[in-house]
Amino acid sequence: MKFSMFWGCIAPLRYPGIESSTRDVLDALDVEYKDLEGASCCPAPGVFRSFSEPTWLSVGARNLALAESDGNQLMTICNGCYGSLFESNYELRQEPEKLEEVNKILKKVGMKYNGTTEVRHEAEVLYRDMGEDRVRGKVKKELNLNVAVHYGCHFLKPTETRGLGEAEKPTILDEIVEWTGAKSIDYRYKNLCCGAGGGVRARNPELAKAMTLKKYEAVKEAGADCLVTPCPFCHLQYDQAQPEDGLPVLHISQLLGLAFGSDEKRMGFNYHRIDVTPVLEKIK
Amino acid sequence: MIGVFLCHCGKNISTHVDIKKLKEELSKDPGLYVVEDTFLCSQAGQGLIKDSVKEKGLDRVVVASCSPKHHGDIFKNCVGEVLNPYMWEMANIREQCAWVHQNDNEKATEKALALVRGAIEKVKLHEPIGQLTVPVSKEVLVIGAGIAGIHAALEMGDKGYHVHLVEKTPIIGGNMVKLDRTFPTDDCSMCTISPKLNEVASHPNVIIYTLSEVEEVSGRPGEYEVKIVKHPRYVDEEKCTGCGTCAEKCPIKRPNEYDFGLSKRKAIYIPAGGMVPLKYTINRDDCLHFRTGKCGICVDNCVAGAIDFDQKEKHIELKVGAIMVATGYDQYDLSNTEYNIEHPNVITGLELERMIDPSGPTSGKIIRPSDGETPKSLTFIQCAGSRDERRNTYCSKICCMYTIKNAQLVEKEYPEMEINLCYIDIRTPGKNFEEYYRRFRSAGINMIKGMPSEILSGENDTLEFDVYDTATKKLLKINTDLVVLATSLVPSEGTKKMAEVLHLVYGPEGFLAPVHVKINPVDTANRGQYIVGTAVFPKPIQECITDAGAASSRVATFLKDDKLVLDLVTNRIDPEICIHCGECVEGCNYSAIKENEEGVYEVLDVSCLGCGKCAAICPSNASEMRFGSDEQLKVQVSGILSSDPDTIIAYSCEQCGYNAADLAGISNLEYSSKVKIVKVPCTARVSFELMLYPFLKGAKGVMVAGCLEDQCHYIDGNIGAKERAMMAKKILDLIGIGGERLQFFNMSSGDGPKFAESARAIAEVCP
């Protein structure tokens, strides 16, 4: 099984530590992958789908067609990319007229999408394809951390199309976190959105910040050491918009990297706004 | 000699009531044969009672054990094997003694002794109660031939009873035959009901009387005497073939009431085609012959010679065993209201049904009555006259569903038509109703949760109004071609009339009242009379059919034998003492007291339910209960008081108060052992005298425990009783005893805590 990796925009261009951590984790787990060459923005669902659905569909279809040419499943590391590509893939498969329209446009650049790509997220690949034994097998250091897991919005929802189980009290990420030896703690507003999505971070940053603040208060109250999320955009929002004494934010790949004993320098912690040192100290 | 049987009930009673002591004390009386047993209700225990009666020649029995509501029937049957089944009394020393006085065995024992002594004194005055056997007729009267009445007639006919089905209008089928398609299946009304119409018209056990009304009902349950008047049709039903030539030729045209004026009929007519019976009728007020003496065109053209201008009304007398009332509903009259129903383009739900009906006056086309054109927009307005404190407070139940049904039928036929629906809520309380609503909702009809204040006449005979949309907080303006009002349903004229003729209880809105809305929904207070369908409350067709089935079952039970056997636990009136004031006749809810041919008031045992109201209100003491007479109750009270003067007598009605007291016992709630309960059938039984009597015998207080105010099981017995109690309190104040020593409590039969609370409350003010 080989994957074509879709890195997105925020991780490679703003928090590249997430990209390198992921590469190290996949290597440690002996996963075969390649970069999806020539990929563009997914395109960002909240932003581009708000402006023009047909554009969103065509740009997404191009990315899906690239993976189709590779003959691989497309793996993302980001809720936003996952949500965007999964939903556009779903639309195109459900509505043949839309697929036809989109292919007319793709034809202009000599491409065609046949609807056969499967869109995956790193977290559910770890959970479903790898499984506990394989991942635990690579853990070199049990992390004694209290982790506040933030699922984000587009990983599991809308549950009707995702098929990853229910979103009210999910356990996928909590389980993965516990495979590293860390403790996933319960906290109020665990299901709350980070506030960045839907184009809100760009257009109404105060609103996004207000929602981040709510999460910040809840995780502080619960006594967490860090926030862990499978989405670089939530990651960015929490790292940038929490108050100074906010919790350090880790992408799931960074947490796994720490457990696997990967090279910390490759994880890019120095470039987080909120200092990650307390976490690193605690797990020594 | 009286046998007194004391039950240990295992340890249930004997832990707190010293049975040995009771036996010792009671055995001092040579007139008593006292026995104790561990479980009297067991086979052995019952055997003990029966053997004792036979061996010792006992003529009366007292059983001191649990509540009569628990094992009363066991002991009644047991005693009934060796004595008259009413020559015994039960003293409740478990639920109402041992279980509520667990903290003081001495007091519990003292109280148990008093209760047993009370029972002994009472049973001394018991008379053997006989039985009344009355013949019953197997004929059944069904009033109203709508879907409920027709179905009832079919059910009874199929069960082998002879049914007389009486219908006011010229045809059978009621309101249902005016409908187009019915929810939630959207099959057409006529298709569903036609087979039933034909079945009932040809059923060997059913006789149908159309154009007929019930004028008078007398007699008694099981043998009602019914007088019916059959209005003249002026057409011989035997000869008329329904060919319709007469109507073709008749020169007089009138708006057809059946089609709400959307079509015309002649002076000789059938309300609509395909109806049963297919016989023509002459409307006397329209007919030229009757108005001027001239014109006989119909006679000249009738090949069958069926016209009969001299036809007279017929009077028919029937004897029936039971009566079923199925007289149905009408639409509420919204004339002179803000709904502007006088405007030609404002119509009611039924009127729209006539339009949509493909065999109706417009052949299924929706038209604006003002000009016959197709409306470009149609607006439904719900709850017109319902859920309205100014008019009808209740919800008419079927309107949400039939409006949705009509709206989606219209939308399918006229996809271009703009359809609005203004509502407060959409109610879908039935099987498959919500799914029907969900399918309807995707059709894109403008659903507006907001009601108009008034419907104004606009230009070109349109209508316009503003409505406030709740979710957007916007005021919307609606301009529409046709308004359909979901008009409130009210009891029909026939329903109101039958309520009077039969002395049926009805609610404030005029709908007929069953004995109990939940547990006894088709019986009425009049034995042998049953109510079904929309005469009782608005309901969909399937519920009318269920009602009819339920009532048919009840009637079949009532008339299953050729006779009715009843225990005579009823009232009797002494004609020597009766002063003919008529209070009892007025007061009896069951029409059980009648004046006979000799001008004497007598109780119809077959209708009497033994509530005791008449006995309590009779000013001359002429009315007496055969079982539980004033004398019996008085000696019971004095028996208790002479054993233990530190007593509050608690008259508790068998339906609620007594039951609540039992439940207090089951929950082991504590209250003062001063409170000793005397069972009465209804608080109506407790007369003014009975309320004050215990004080004469030294009681510390009196409490009366009855049903909740609007839930008296004998309709309104507790109301009168409470009034008497209030008066009695004033007397007690005047004579210096203190009105606070007499208290009236209303409680639900399931409210054990309320009984205990009440008992504690009064014990506190009666030191």
Partner: protein, 170 residues
């Protein structure tokens, strides 16, 4: 002033947005579950109701329309299965076409033409990548002129450039 219902606009939203629009019976569960509704004047139920009634003028210029983060909580909880975020996204499309697009958003959209990504790519970003042992330039449209041109062709074929007011500098 009282408003007239516009059934044509409502039909358009139902047809091109999502047909579940008319299933909404205004129970308000969506608003109760919405984190934005709690903080701002945006109320989910109201927006869907505007669409049902075709009240275009209350939708297109409305800033509230853009306060939804598409968190999907409303859709998860809706008892009628209304595809609320899809409808809101469609209404935003109409608003954008009518000229109601925020400048910040136009900026993000323009990035797609310049970089093929939603955010910019500058030297400092390249340096950061290298310091972590990654290739300085990702193998996306940033690393392939053809890929970027293909992307631009596709976007122009959708009229996206004129929508956001992007004119290519020659």
């Amino acid at each position: 002033m009282a408003k007239m219902i516009d059934p044509e606009f409502a039909e358009k939203v139902a047809k091109e947005g999502d047909k579940s629009l008319f299933l909404c019976y205004q129970c308000g569960t969506c608003t109760a579950s919405c984190p934005s509704s709690e903080i701002t004047s945006f109320k989910t139920r109201k927006m869907i109701r505007f669409a049902q009634l075709g009240l275009k003028d209350d939708i297109l210029p409305n800033d509230d329309l853009w306060d939804c983060t598409t968190c999907y909580t409303c859709q998860e909880r809706c008892p009628r299965g209304v595809k609320i975020p899809k409808i809101i996204l469609y209404l935003r499309n109409l608003a954008a076409q009518a000229g109601y697009m925020a400048d910040a958003h136009k900026g993000t959209a323009k990035n797609l033409f310049i970089f093929g990504h939603a955010v910019s790519f500058k030297d400092k970003h390249e340096k950061l990548r290298k310091s972590l042992g990654l290739d300085g330039v990702p193998h996306t449209t940033l690393g392939s002129k053809k890929a970027l041109e293909d992307l631009k062709t596709i976007m122009k074929a959708n009229g996206f450039d004129s929508l956001i007011g992007y004119k290519e500098e020659k």
